[in-house]
Symmetry: C2
Subunit: 556 residues, 2 copies
C-alpha cells in the first residue's frame, strides 16, 4: 500500500480553487502510484473559516466539494482522506462536526469527527463544532486506519492537558495499523520541534506509524508552515515536507509498519529540509504571509512610508522580497524634523532593492493643518498633538496613493511599539496588513542582520543609529521608552508568558519599570483594537489570539 | 427567610471599586433585613474579563475579593451568593471554573460551577472554563437551594438546544426549594422577553421559584441591562428590576414558595417598569453604553464631526443626553461640496442641544493635499480618492482636537454603512467608540423620531432630506447604494439571520441586488476590522460577536 500526503494552500471559501487543487493532488498522487491521498483539516473550505461556518449555504457548498471528490476517487481508483465540516444529526449540541472523510470508489466509507476542539489563542473551534463521542478505525484494503484531526493527537505527554479525553486512547483496543492525521496547525517560530515531539509521543504510545498532513500558506494573519510528517513505527522521521511550499509526495507503507531498528539517537533526528534558525523561520513565514495576503485578495502592489528608521526599512525589504521590487513603492515624506541621514539611508535602501520611490514633503500639509487649527489651538504649546499631526499627514498621503493606484498600504509598526502604544492611530498605524507587528524591536534588529547575512541590503547605518520617530527636534525613542532590550524582555514575560507584575519583578526587573510598562500595554488596548491584522509568528500575537477588554482597570 | 438581589455595575479588573460596591450591597441588604444577598456572575472581577482570566495574578486578585466578602458576611451576619472564577484542581481540562460562591458567617459553604459555557457570538467561555460535572444543592437554614450561573438555565424549551446536558435536570432528585441564578446576560433589543420566558420555563419544569440577578452597565461594547427577576412558584413575575440602573431589593421567600393561585393570564404578565418599545430600549442602551465607556475610562468629554446628516446629528444628541450638552463639542467642517442646509441644520441642532461647536473649513487642507500630491496624481481624474481625502482631512482635525484637549472622538457610522463599507477608513470611520454602529440606517430614522417624540430636538429637515456624504457635487447615498429600506432588509437577512444568497432571493429580493450587497459586506471585512468598538444593541453586531476572515472568497 502507498500513501500520499498532499500539502496544499487553500483559500477560505474559494470552493472552485480549493477543489481544483484537491483534484490536481489526487491526480498527481495517482501518477505516483498512491492508494490513499491524505489532505489537510477542512481542506474543502480552507482553515479557519470562522463564522462562515454559521451559514448553511457555506456548509452546503463545502459538501458539494465532497461530492465532487467522490467522483474523482471513482474516476482515478484512489482513496481520499480529506477534511470537511459535517452537519450534526443530533438536535442537542453544536450544529457541526469538524470531520475527516474517508472516500473511496465514489463512496464515503467513513467519517471521523474531531474530538479535541482547540478553543484558545486564535482558535474558536468549540464555537462551531460538537466534539466526537464515537471512535472507530476504518477498515480499508485489509488495514485498520485510525483517523485523527489536528488537536486530537496533542493531548498526550503534556504536563497540563487541556482536555479530559484522548481520542486515540478510545480507539486503542481496535488496534489500528497506522494513523492518518489531518491538520491545520499554524506556524510559530517555536512550534516546529513541538510537532515532531508530539507525533513521536503518539507513535511511541500507540506503537504505530503516523502520517501527518498539515496545510500550508497564510490566511490573513495566520500562517501555516506545512512541515507535514511521516514517522515510522520506530519513531524515525522518514520525511518532513518543506515549510511554506505546496507538495504532493507518496510513501510506501510497509517500511513504516516494519521499520529497521533504530541504530542510535542520530537516527531519531528530524530531517526537515529548511533550517530551523529562528530568524530564518520568521523571515520565511513573513514572506509567505505577505505573498498570500496579496495573492488571495487579488492585489499585486504594495506601498509604504519609508522613514529612514529600522522598521520601515525591514518592512520594505520583506515586501520587495515577497512581491518583487517592481511591485513595491516606497514613499519618503520628510518634515522639518527629518534628519538628512533619514533621506540618504532610505535612498540607499531603495537603490539596493530596486523599487519605486517618491519624495513627498509633508511640510506644507502639516503647516496648513496648524494654521487651520490655529484659532482652536491658540495659547497651547507644541505637544504630542503636533507630533500626531505629522504622522497623520503621512497616513493621508499614503492612503491617497493607495486609493488612486490600487496599492495595499503596509503597516510598519513592530510588536514593541504596538504593545506600549508608541504609534499614532490613523497615522503610522494605518495599513491593510501589519508585516512585523508580531516581531519585537530587538527581533527586528536580528531579522535585519539575517537579511544582510550575505551582503548589505539594509544599510548598516539604519541598523546602528538610535531609533527615533523624528516628530520633534532631536527626539529619540529612548526619551519615552525603556531600552528595547529591557522593554522587550518585560513585554515577553507579560504577553507571551502571562506573568503578573510581582512575578516579573521577582524575575529581576525594576518594579517601577514593570508597573509602567504593564500599564502602557493595558491602556493602549484601544489602539490595538483598530490596528490592521498582524502576521502571526509567535505563540502570542496581538489580534484574534489575544482578547482583552478595552474598558478595564487591571494594571491600568 | 428574606433574599436580596444586588443588581450592580462592575468595572472589569477594578477590584477595589467592585469590592466597595459589593460591600455596600451587603450593607444595604442587611438594613433591608435580608438573610441572603444574590450578586451577579463574575461580580468580583466584572464580566467579560476575557484573556485577563489567563493571568494567575488576575485570578488571585479576584479571590482576594472573595476573602474580603467572607469577612463582611461574618461582620453583618448575612450570606452572600456571588460569582468569581475558581482554579480547577484537576490537572486535565481548562484551568478555571466560572463559579457561584455561597458564603455565610465568614466561610465558603459551597461552590457551584457553571456547566453550560456560552461559546458563540460575543461569548468565549469555553476558552477559559471547564464545565461543571458535579451538581449539588446547598443546604442553608433549613432550605435546599439550587445555584445556577447564567446560561445554565437557558438550555430548556429550545428547539435547538446548544448543549447535551442540563444542570437543573441533574439536580432534580435533590428537590431544591428554590433556585438562585447569577447572570451576566447582555442586552439586545429583542432579548428582554426571552429572559422572562426562560425563567418561567424553569419555574414550570422544576416547580420552584427563581431569583435571577443580572448585572447592569456597559463593558466597552457589551451592554448589560439588568432587569433582574423574581418569579414565584406559580410563574408570576413578582418583580422585574429596572433596566440600566443599579438597585438592591429584598424579597420575602415564603410567598414565592407558596404563591397565591394564578387568577388568569393577566396575572402572568411581566411587570417591568420601563417600556419595551424597541426604540426606547435602544435609546436607553446607547445612553448607558456611552456613559459607561467614558466613565470607566475616566473621560468626561466627547467630540465629533457634525455633517448636517442624520447619523452625526443622532450621535451628537445621544452623546449630549448621556454626558451633558456641556461636555460635548460638535465640529462643523464644510468643504466646497457642503450645502448651505448642512451648516444651518447643524447649527440649529447645536442650539437645540446647547453644546459647544466650531466651524473649521477643510478647504485649505484639502487643497494643500491635492497640490502636494499633484505630481503623483497628474493626469488622473477626480474619483473616490479625492472624496476620501476630504473625509480624512476631517478625521485628522478631529483627532488633533481630541489629542490637544482630551476628548474622546465619537464615531458616527451606522450599521448599514459599516456593513457595505460606505465610509472612509481613517476618515469618518475614526473614533474611540462607535455609538450607532449596530443601528441600521432605517432604525436611525426611527430613533430620531423617538428622540423628537415630545418636541423637535433633531431638526426635521435633517430627518427628511435625502442622505448624502457631500463629497462630490450633488452626491446622494442612493447613487451608490440601494434604498436603505431594501438594503437594510437584505442586510438583516444576511447578518442577523445568516441566510445564504439563494434563501434571500427566495424571500423575494432581486438576485442581482442580493449578490451585490453580500459581496459588498464580505469584501469590506478589512474596513470593519479596523473600526472602533460598536455599542451592541442587536443579536448580531459587528465586532467580537461576528468573526469573519478578511482574506476569503465566499460571496466576495
Amino acid at each position: 500500500m502507498r500513501i500520499a500526503i498532499a500539502q496544499q494552500n487553500y483559500h477560505i471559501g474559494n470552493f472552485d480553487t480549493n477543489f481544483a487543487k484537491i483534484k490536481a493532488g489526487l491526480e498527481q498522487a495517482s501518477q505516483q502510484g498512491a492508494d490513499i491521498v491524505l489532505f489537510a483539516e477542512l481542506a474543502v473550505c480552507g482553515y479557519p473559516p470562522r463564522d462562515f461556518l454559521e451559514f448553511e449555504d457555506f456548509i452546503s457548498r463545502s459538501l458539494t466539494v465532497i461530492e465532487k471528490v467522490k467522483l474523482e476517487t471513482k474516476r482515478l481508483g484512489i482513496a481520499a482522506v480529506i477534511g470537511a465540516p459535517t452537519l450534526n444529526p443530533v438536535v442537542e449540541g453544536k450544529d457541526l462536526f469538524n470531520s475527516a472523510y474517508f472516500i473511496a470508489d465514489g463512496e464515503i466509507l467513513h467519517i471521523a469527527h474531531k474530538c479535541l476542539l482547540p478553543t484558545y489563542d486564535i482558535f474558536d473551534e468549540y464555537r462551531y463544532f460538537e466534539p466526537a463521542s464515537d471512535f472507530k478505525v476504518v477498515h480499508y484494503k485489509g488495514k485498520k486506519i485510525a483517523l485523527t484531526v489536528c488537536e486530537d493527537i496533542w493531548n498526550i505527554g503534556n504536563e497540563n492537558p487541556l482536555y479530559v479525553t484522548c481520542p486515540m486512547d478510545e480507539m486503542m483496543d481496535q488496534q489500528a495499523d497506522f494513523m492518518l492525521n489531518l491538520s491545520a496547525s499554524p506556524f510559530s517560530y517555536s512550534h516546529a520541534q513541538d510537532r515532531i515531539d508530539v507525533v513521536r509521543a503518539n507513535v511511541e504510545r500507540y506503537k504505530l506509524p503516523v502520517l501527518y498532513c498539515n496545510t500550508v500558506g497564510a490566511q490573513t494573519e495566520v500562517i501555516f508552515d506545512g512541515g507535514s510528517l511521516v514517522m515510522d513505527a520506530a519513531g524515525r522521521v522518514v520525511d518532513e515536507m518543506p515549510y511554506f511550499e505546496e507538495v504532493v509526495r507518496t510513501y510506501e507503507l510497509a517500511p513504516l509498519l516494519n521499520p529497521a531498528p533504530l541504530t542510535g539517537k542520530a537516527d531519531l533526528d528530524e530531517s526537515n529540509e529548511l533550517p530551523k534558525e529562528k530568524m530564518a523561520l520568521i523571515y520565511d513565514a513573513l514572506i509567505c504571509g505577505i505573498r498570500d495576503y496579496f495573492g488571495k485578495l487579488g492585489f499585486k502592489q504594495a506601498i509604504l512610508g519609508l522613514s529612514g528608521g529600522l522598521d520601515s526599512a525591514l518592512t520594505l525589504t520583506l515586501a520587495a522580497h515577497a512581491l518583487g521590487a517592481e511591485n513595491v513603492r516606497a514613499v519618503l515624506m520628510p518634515s522639518e524634523f527629518s534628519s538628512d541621514h533619514s533621506i540618504n539611508d532610505s535612498l540607499e535602501l531603495v537603490k539596493n532593492l530596486g523599487c519605486m520611490h517618491d519624495i513627498i514633503s509633508i511640510q506644507h500639509v502639516y503647516e496648513q493643518f496648524r494654521s487651520t487649527l490655529a484659532p482652536q489651538f491658540e495659547g497651547t504649546a507644541f505637544n504630542v498633538t503636533e507630533e500626531n499631526l505629522q504622522a497623520r499627514s503621512r497616513g493621508v498621503i499614503l492612503m491617497a496613493l493607495s486609493n488612486k493606484f490600487g496599492y495595499i498600504l503596509l503597516n510598519t509598526s513592530n510588536k514593541s511599539e504596538a504593545a506600549v502604544g508608541y504609534g499614532t492611530l490613523y497615522g503610522d498605524m494605518c495599513g491593510g496588513l501589519s508585516v512585523i507587528g508580531d516581531v519585537y524591536k530587538s527581533e527586528c534588529f536580528e531579522l535585519c542582520r539575517y537579511i544582510n547575512r550575505n551582503g548589505e541590503i539594509i544599510p548598516n547605518n539604519i541598523i546602528t543609529k538610535p531609533p527615533s520617530a523624528e516628530l520633534r527636534p532631536d527626539q529619540k525613542d529612548s526619551d519615552s521608552l525603556p531600552d528595547y532590550d529591557i522593554l522587550d524582555e518585560v513585554l515577553y514575560q507579560y504577553i507571551e508568558l502571562r506573568k503578573g507584575p510581582q512575578e516579573i519583578i521577582d524575575a529581576g526587573f525594576d518594579s517601577a519599570l514593570v508597573e509602567r510598562v504593564l500599564k502602557l500595554v493595558n491602556r493602549n488596548e484601544y489602539k490595538r483594537y483598530q490596528t490592521p491584522p498582524m502576521l502571526r509568528v509567535s505563540d502570542k500575537a496581538f489580534g484574534m489570539g489575544r482578547r482583552m477588554p478595552i474598558v478595564a482597570k487591571y494594571l491600568g
